[in-house]
Symmetry: C2
């Protein structure tokens, strides 16, 4: 047995966004013999006589990865909950500028642009948590099935967990950064905890399957399922909507049900368009891998849109069926409506291009969004309070429950070695003598 091990930690120590305390090293094996019983043989096996036994499904070992992705998606939503709690409470404490000239400075939460920065992300916390909750149920079912040798739903689970991990890490990173920027200069202070929340969430975009790679895997599932559906073959629940052709029918009202249907039709229409382009490139003589690469930017958009549709649908379904008081239900319905409209407006191009929504519809939705912001502004603080994150866990000078932002900033500042004395020693030692010499 000839073994060689070498490890080097790649990293650098410095006050940067980079993860310097993590092990970015490598480990090299050269003719190193691993005992058979140490081979982690859960799915594939090697018997004592050296016979290799294949797993019952090629992608069975993805199970652990799926679980990690679901957990990461949830982790991101948890960090976003912290960020919106901090920024919303701070926005209720901080007063600035004059909304009406001559009048006292209002809470910055009174500004529509501030409400727009916070409320859609508060809604995101609920939307993502509910969707991940639904996915957990799929996960439990599929895992139980696998135990019985049934791997039919594995691809469904793989697609949803990949997509949710990607959307959650993307939206939560953006949400936390928006919260940080919504706190102005104070958002840059480490003791706000917002910078720390950002770096801890943002890394999820890259780890456990980089988001672009994951979206492309979702897209592959979408294209395969669409092609199967077109041939009349059965497809799994999350993509079954692809079987019903995109009846490009312009909706008259703009109810949640209508918007959901517009989402469905636009998603089918997107998948259909990119599938046709793929087909055309292949017909023109490109091999499939190159045609796939040529369409990959559009494929990523398709996958992202499909997952956004899933999240909106799960949010709506949960809110409609949840057993809570009428008051709480109304707030949740308002928040869900805001989320739905916000997602439609952000992706308005797809809805307009599919012909499901018109320019006039979008103007109406924009006006409704403004009304919802004003309405939900009253609930903003109670909503983040409902996340019930203890001050000790939130760890933020800006976001503590009692709103004593300035006292906490001051107390924190006094911990700095520079503030041990009113005037630093360096002034007397260097600056004062220099200033007195009249250079």
């Amino acid at each position: 047995m000839d073994a060689q091990l070498s490890g080097v930690t790649v990293g650098e120590v410095g006050p940067r966004l980079g993860i310097n305390s993590q092990d970015n090293g490598f480990l090299r094996f050269h003719h190193f013999r691993i005992p058979r019983t140490n081979m982690l043989m859960k799915h594939s096996q090697v018997t004592e006589d050296g016979t290799y036994i294949k797993p019952i499904h090629q992608k069975l070992s993805y199970g652990a990865m799926v679980q990690t992705r679901v957990k990461l998606a949830l982790l991101c939503a948890g960090k976003l909950a912290c960020a919106v709690t901090i920024a919303t409470r701070y926005s209720a404490v901080r007063h600035q500028s004059e909304l009406v000239p001559g009048e006292p400075e209002p809470q910055i939460l009174e500004y529509q642009t501030q409400q727009y920065k916070l409320l859609p992300h508060i809604a995101s916390v609920f939307a993502l948590s509910f969707s991940i909750g639904s996915l957990m149920k799929v996960y439990d079912k599929v895992t139980a099935d696998i135990g019985k040798g049934n791997v039919n739903y594995l691809s469904e689970l793989h697609s949803l967990s990949s997509g949710l991990k990607a959307v959650s890490s993307q939206d939560c990173s953006l949400g936390i950064e928006t919260c940080r920027l919504a706190c102005g200069g104070h958002g840059y202070i480490a003791s706000s905890r917002l910078p720390h929340l950002y770096t801890g969430t943002n890394v999820v975009i890259t780890i456990e399957g980089e988001n672009t790679v994951l979206y492309l895997q979702v897209a592959r599932y979408l294209i395969k399922s669409y092609q199967a559906a077109m041939k009349g073959k059965p497809v799994l629940p999350s993509v079954s909507y692809l079987s019903t052709p995109a009846a490009i029918q312009r909706t008259n009202s703009l109810s949640n049900k209508d918007l959901k249907e517009a989402f469905r039709t636009s998603s089918v229409s997107l998948v259909k368009e990119v599938e046709a382009r793929l087909q055309k490139l292949c017909d023109m003589g490109q091999d499939f891998p190159h045609a796939w690469n040529t369409c990959s930017v559009s494929l990523v958009h398709c996958a992202e849109f499909h997952i956004r549709y899933y999240v909106c649908e799960q949010f709506l379904r949960t809110v409609e069926s949840v057993a809570v008081s009428e008051g709480v239900k109304n707030v949740l319905l308002g928040l869900c409506r805001l989320y739905l409209i916000h997602n439609v407006i952000l992706n308005q191009g797809h809805f307009l291009r599919s012909g499901t929504l018109s320019a006039a519809h979008l103007s109406l939705l924009e006006e409704e969004l403004c009304e919802l912001l004003a309405e939900l502004r009253k609930q903003a603080v109670p909503l983040v309070d409902s996340f019930d994150i203890r001050d000790e866990l939130l760890g933020s000078t800006l976001g503590a429950w009692d709103g004593r932002v300035y006292q906490r900033l001051y107390d924190e500042a006094l911990k700095s070695p520079l503030n041990k004395t009113d005037v630093p020693k360096a002034y007397y030692q260097y600056l004062r003598p220099l200033m007195k010499t009249n250079l």
Copy 2:
């Protein structure tokens, strides 16, 4: 004279995104008398007998702020140039996955999704630099005019510098973060310099006029100018296009000129719609400040779109008139076309809603974007080389000119105290004895 000075540095020391080494302190004056000659009386004056003389224009002191904003916009473009240089060179060195199953791993720059992450931001560096160059000329002219007592163009300068500072800091932050993510795990290593570039650029969103506030000032200028134009009054160059009504005419071809015209018409249409909503709210009895707040999310979108139109126009104008060889000109024209199409697609909702572009047009533009990515991919490395940033200034293990990424990472890693020995002392001191005890 009764003087009291107290200063506290607000901040915390830690390896975070927050700016901890900067002075976040405050300074309090209490009955402190400032000598008359120390009052920085460039524009307003106080004479010896105590008479106050007003400046010739109320906003004359904005001059220095305008200059700072222009410089900050340029600073951001410079940092983006560093980031695209690093990420593009790394993408030409790094090989990963199989584009065609069974074939060797290609340079990651071969993947369309990677080209899409880098090339539009390479184009951004040119677009922003050219636009800021044009603005510098406006600045010099306006400053000279002010010296002669002519303050007519001050509002124009204020609007353009505010808007460009906002768009530049926003786009460069996003661009640098995209570059960082495009380098996978290595983008998180401090020695890549990408994290450092991000934090240095991102802060510009908040300082010297927070972006949302600046966009709202641009919007105020747009609405005022539009109202003046509708009454037949003259308006200044950057907003003169608002005088020509939005002739909602669907274009047949998609030349640069057509896209520019579509941009113009859509911008007029956006301003017109939000002005009408403002008017309607006032007619319904809201006072102007509250109506303004109710429309502020739309007003921000208006302002951003107007500035994007300005940047696209300046990019096109510069590339069309620049005196370079035919070969270089063709590359620049391709890059400008990519930038224009990318901006149209990102804002497709506005173009579709104004009726200037159709769904079919957008499909054609998306296909052209893909062709441009493939075409410009060949120029990607030469383009970033043309920024001519010395290795010593770039300071990146991933982006050095010679492409020796892995050797540099290795050399950098060896500088870590953890790598002074192959196996850390702690192993022999603590881990080994523990492992040998068979707990």
